[in-house]
Point group: C2
Chain length 205, copies 2
């Protein structure tokens, strides 16, 4: 409650929510602080009670994104159960699901140009997310003979890169590239081929 009236109640979060909506609709650079204030039903000046400015507002949106992202991935990974491989693939699917379900967060995190170190809380959240991915990759790596095993951080970077590329190029209207396949299918097939290349899947389809 306390929604109506002079005091907003939870303006800070309302501003972040408005920012996320605006980012989704118009891109991370496509709106102004005043618009965000207006969308939250408040005077532009009120924003300064809670944030240092537009940049800071986007950084908070990104931070919340990284928290959700890390939690989702952690949940999907499920401590590597039932098998390292199954858990890894679930994590990959969670990546795309996150991008789909939280487009505003995703854009704030990866397309807004916010510097991760502009904000200690943001940096910490980003580190946590990255850690989950790398841990999943490291665990799965153990099933590869050591002599043909790439460093886990490279492994996870490859998966991350392909996932991000699919999101940016094919999961959005993007640069008008009509995707020839559903992004989920595209990514799943791509990760499958990659894992086969590592010897983690049988060579036969």
């Amino acid at each position: 409650m306390a929604k109506a009236g002079y005091h907003h109640g939870n303006l800070r979060q309302a501003l972040v929510d408005a920012t996320l909506t605006l980012i989704t609709e118009k891109g991370p650079q496509g709106f102004t602080l005043s618009e965000a204030a207006k969308a939250a039903g408040v005077t532009p000046a009120a924003v300064y009670r809670h944030f240092a400015g537009r940049e800071d507002l986007i950084a908070e949106a990104a931070r919340q994104g990284y928290e959700i992202f890390a939690s989702l991935m952690e949940y999907a990974y499920n401590d590597g159960k039932p098998t390292a491989l199954a858990a890894f693939e679930a994590t990959g699917r969670a990546y795309l699901a996150f991008a789909r379900r939280y487009p505003g967060h995703y854009m704030a995190m990866f397309e807004s140009g916010v510097a991760l170190n502009s904000n200690p809380a943001l940096a910490a959240a980003a580190m946590r997310a990255r850690g989950v991915l790398e841990q999943a990759a490291a665990k799965l790596s153990e099933h590869i003979p050591p002599e043909k095993r790439p460093p886990p951080s490279m492994f996870s970077a490859h998966i991350w890169a392909m996932s991000h590329g699919v999101v940016e190029l094919f999961a959005r209207g993007g640069p008008g590239l009509r995707s020839p396949f559903p992004p989920e299918e595209l990514l799943e097939a791509g990760i499958g081929i990659y894992l086969r290349g590592l010897g983690l899947l049988p060579p036969d389809s």
Copy 2:
């Protein structure tokens, strides 16, 4: 010559060049039409002699990018010589080289949010670039037994996605992700593993 004086000589291209520099420095949304005009040594109003507005200016930068991109890839592919595989790998390297050497073009093409169909010339250039990639993938596909061969457009989409992901996440300062590896090495290793997964490279490293 004709550089100094009342008439500029080649203002149209000078504006595109200024735009590319500004994009490189401040991102596709980080500058104004007036700034671009100023950088070209000209009044904002002069821009309207050549372009419909800021959007149109960026679209032209993107178009030129796609032309360079397509030519570079075509050149690297070299009609599939000496072998389909070698030509394909050269094309992958050319992708990253393009992103590195022409960052302004790359951002105008993939990060500016310009709609490809906002401009017939732009759409044509983008199609051409895409065609080169798909042709390289199709040609290489012929070396895969048909029953385990993915559609060439999926194949090329995977490579494109991984390349783009590497560029966005690791080849720039990006979201502050310090890359654990040089992007070239990261991408080459990733593509190698992927091709091995397709049976196009021997399973042994």
